[in-house]
């Protein structure tokens, strides 16, 4: 698989960048030069490359590099954790729906459709209203909608797989359903959901950034890339670095993730292949 990833230069690039950024994020607490919340009002709005602050400082004199690293950490946390959770539940329900069909399917599909019908933004806004702004509301919102996406894909895959000889055979041999699903169906259905997952991670990251940007997401002093841009907005004419750095970071991370996604798709799902 890695060789095939490597085949396409862009995909390779995406993979490498993703890995690097993710690592930076994970290591943030240990590698960031400074406490992301530590202020030095008197040395605020320093430009990049100023002494002691590789990427300069923000309006409160906090070290931008440290905040970026922790911001990445948070983005990654939101992106991957939420996606993982919704993939798990969505996948499970999709699997059940696709495998058992009939009433089970009708019931689950109905639920899927209903959740699918809700605008993510609405769910997010309401949850933020109810739970107060913060990560929890945000992640709940994303999870509540995304699982349906995974469920749909998984269901489709399983419906198709179910008719394949090896499954029929297994059933004929009287192997119990759970075992068949686990051993024979799931492994073949996973790739498609993984592909979707890689895109959902990117989406979740953008979404978190967007909501933190308008102040409905992560609350200070915790750094979120989106929220950093939001705060930097007021200083765009005074110190445009402040909004440029986190912006570029998000863009690079998301683009890398998308490229990675394309790669995964080309490998697992040639049907969807762009070229």
């Amino acid at each position: 698989m890695w060789r095939r990833l490597a085949a396409n230069r862009l995909v390779l690039l995406g993979t490498v960048i993703t890995v690097v950024i993710v690592t930076l994020g994970i290591l943030a607490p240990w590698i960031s030069p400074d406490d992301y919340a530590k202020q030095d009002l008197l040395s605020s709005l320093e430009p990049p490359l100023s002494k002691g602050h590789l990427l300069g400082t923000d309006q409160l004199g906090r070290d931008t590099l440290s905040r970026i690293l922790h911001g990445i950490r948070l983005s990654i946390f939101v992106g991957f954790v939420i996606t993982a959770i919704s993939l798990f539940f969505g996948g499970l329900l999709g699997l059940a729906a696709g495998y058992y069909r009939g009433k089970v399917d009708t019931a689950i599909s109905a639920v899927i459709d209903i959740f699918w019908g809700f605008p993510l933004i609405l769910v997010a806004v309401l949850l933020v209203g109810a739970l107060g702004p913060g990560l929890l509301a945000l992640m709940l919102a994303v999870g509540l909608i995304n699982w349906a996406g995974f469920a749909r894909v998984m269901r489709g895959e399983v419906l198709a797989l179910r008719e394949r000889e090896f499954v029929e055979a297994a059933r004929a041999l009287g192997i119990n359903d759970l075992r068949i699903m686990w051993r024979h169906v799931l492994p073949h259905a996973v790739p498609a959901t993984l592909v979707l997952g890689s895109y959902y991670v990117a989406l979740a990251i953008i979404f978190e950034a967007g909501f933190s940007f308008i102040g409905m997401g992560v609350q200070p002093p915790n750094p979120s890339l989106g929220q950093m841009i939001g705060e930097a907005r007021n200083y765009m004419l005074v110190d445009s670095w402040l909004m440029t750095i986190p912006g570029v970071t998000i863009a690079v991370l998301v683009i890398a993730l998308n490229l990675l996604g394309d790669g995964l798709r080309d490998i697992f799902d040639p049907r969807l292949k762009d070229n």
């Binding site: 809700f118 933004i121 609405l122 209203g129 109810a130 308008i214 989106g226 998301v254």
Partner: protein, 306 residues
């Protein structure tokens, strides 16, 4: 087809009902109430209590919901607690603005994405193709709100060409619509390209060439039309996404549209407005998907019958 329509209708009703309950509950369990938006923060408790009672906020939530539904069936859709504007009026105003924004964005996106997608597919692996795909990746990666700030910085702060916020004349529409269109543009272009490539490989293309039909006609009359089908099904989701995700862009440019006003009304705890807008938003998304399905059938004769 009729059966399909009826099913969607039922589905829509169910979702709307669930939504209305969820929204109603979520809004009222949220801490804070409209009183703080209507009265002075320093106003004494007596005044607050009086207002709460007048708004019926002292009843238990399920009872309030019951009252709300009763009123609706009596044709009284209520009015904004803050401004006293009737809900239909509010919905019309903000719904329309959102529609204008999302519509324009979609128009911009398609006007650019489709030709570029075709070009990229026809001149596959050419410099055109690579450039197009590069920008597609960029467009999908750049967070819209950040792009918005960059444009404000350029066209508003530096060149002083365009207003940086608010709504009104066309000039106000340019920046938000462009920003909102970028992501759709990128996605559509990619889809159009792959869809074109798929169609170009079809047997009927060979037949057309064997008939001696001109290449340009084959592309624009036959292949493009076939390739558009998936785009149409995407459109539904797109509109939903645009109307929803627009909240971020609307907030950056303070374009008073549906999403923006929804956030505002939730913050002000203007329950009737928030409820109305939420339901409208849900309905918009549902019907967008529905329309996409319809359009599908119109373009593709195979789906017309049955």
């Amino acid at each position: 087809m009729i059966g399909f329509i009826l099913k969607r209708l039922l589905y829509t009703i169910v979702v709307m009902f669930i939504a209305s309950v969820a929204i109603f509950y979520a809004l009222r369990v949220a801490p804070g109430d409209p009183v703080n938006a209507i009265l002075n923060p320093t106003a004494m408790e007596q005044a607050r209590a009086a207002l709460r009672a007048r708004l019926g906020l002292d009843l238990p939530i399920w009872e309030q919901y019951f009252v709300y539904v009763k009123h609706i069936f009596q044709g009284d859709t209520g009015e904004s607690l803050l401004t006293g504007k009737t809900i239909p009026h509010v919905l019309a105003t903000y719904g329309l603005r959102s529609l204008v924004l999302a519509g324009t964005a979609l128009l911009i996106a398609y006007a650019i994405a489709i030709p570029l997608g075709v070009l990229a597919a026809v001149r596959r692996n050419s410099i055109w193709d690579q450039a197009a795909m590069f920008f597609a990746n960029l467009g999908m990666g750049i967070p819209s709100f950040w792009l918005a700030l960059l444009l404000i910085l350029l066209f508003g702060a530096t060149l002083h060409w365009l207003p940086i916020e608010g709504s009104g004349d066309l000039r106000h529409l340019i920046l938000p619509a462009s920003v909102l269109s970028v992501e759709s543009l990128a996605v559509t272009m990619r889809l159009m390209r792959s869809s074109m490539l798929e169609q170009l490989g079809q047997d009927y293309v060979r037949t057309l060439r064997a008939k001696g039909v001109r290449g340009r006609r084959i592309i624009w009359v036959h292949v493009v039309r076939n390739a558009l089908i998936p785009i149409i099904s995407l459109t539904g989701l797109r509109i939903g996404w645009l109307i929803g995700y627009a909240v971020i862009v609307e907030t950056v440019f303070r374009w008073p549209g549906l999403g923006y006003e929804l956030v505002d009304s939730v913050i002000r705890r203007d329950y009737p407005v928030a409820q109305g807008l939420s339901l409208l938003l849900t309905l918009a998304v549902l019907s967008a998907n529905f329309l996409a399905n319809m359009a599908y059938a119109v373009v593709d004769p195979r789906l017309r019958k049955g």
